[in-house]
Symmetry: C2
Subunit: 189 residues, 2 copies
């Protein structure tokens, strides 16, 4: 499964979000925002620890309409998955308000091309802190894993800030930026 | 009420988030993330269009524990509020996936010190597009208003990126950044 995901993904870098502690009823909107932000800001895909066909369908629909590549896989064994990736040489980065400041390590992290980025929906157990190469905070204030992912990916990919508008393949829908109104270009395939 | 909010706020800039379309049951988690991200990234406060004592209590508790200033006010008449601020000379900025790219106008927006930043939870009606000085997109991909607020405020306040750790007054709790574990400094007052 991992190889298929990576073969499908033509990016030179692979940052895969690992969403742990997801509770389908309580977290469906926030985890959907996590996945959409991951895609929009340049991640390759997202793994979700629990089964949630609603989110999978929703994200796959966005990829079909607005372009890919971006994968989503639910119902994974999060800790086993981390060990698999780690054995392949990937680095593990955990976003947490308790971590060291992202700006102090982002240049080291940018040297790595294959990264699992862990974000928790609820309290994250100690084993994830221990297995991570970096526990980093986007600030040490309570805020949002969605904001943290956006800033982390933004800084990781700088100075390339064009991916938000141009990186997606085969979109059926493309927004035409405008200071008034809504302009959508539809491509029938 | 507006004057009180601004007198309470010692920032030289006042960016106030206006959350419209908030539905308490459906949006409570996402709007909480919106408010916490606004606070963490340097906004002065948040106005929410509908009544939601749960979120108000939650955010005021964060401000009490982690420091201020940051205000929250619910149950406002959003459009009337915008007109009041606009009459005082504030600029109105609406974040939307349909808008023009933030990077093309951020230097103009940075010249303004008093800004209402509108983010919608559901479809935003045309009157908000029309009354806004700028309709801007943080990319034109579907993602999250939380990510958009984070990137907008980050860019607005650059090169000052220290506010995430140092800007809050009178915190009872302060996180000590660490690459392992959780370290919290508690100050009894």
């Amino acid at each position: 499964m991992i190889n298929k995901e990576l073969i499908d993904n033509n990016n030179k870098t692979n940052i895969v979000i690992l969403r742990i502690g997801h509770r389908p009823q309580r977290d469906k909107r926030v985890t959907t925002h996590v996945a959409l932000t991951a895609r929009a800001f340049g991640a390759s895909g997202i793994l979700i620890n629990s089964k949630d066909p609603y989110i999978v369908k929703n994200i796959e629909s966005v990829v079909e309409r607005f372009g890919g590549p971006f994968f989503i896989r639910d119902n994974i064994n999060a800790f086993e998955e981390i060990k698999k990736y780690k054995n392949m040489g990937w680095k593990i980065c955990h976003l947490s308000m308790y971590g060291i400041c992202y700006s102090s390590v982002i240049n080291d992290i940018k040297k790595e091309k294959n990264i699992i980025l862990i974000v928790g929906a609820e309290k994250v157990s100690g084993e994830y802190y221990n297995i991570s190469d970096w526990n980093i905070g986007v600030g040490n204030q309570p805020h949002s894993e969605i904001a943290a992912i956006a800033i982390f990916l933004d800084r990781y990919f700088l100075p390339n800030t064009d991916r938000l508008v141009s990186k997606f393949n085969s979109p059926k829908l493309t927004i035409i930026p405008s200071n008034r109104g809504k302009f959508v270009k539809k491509i029938d395939i």
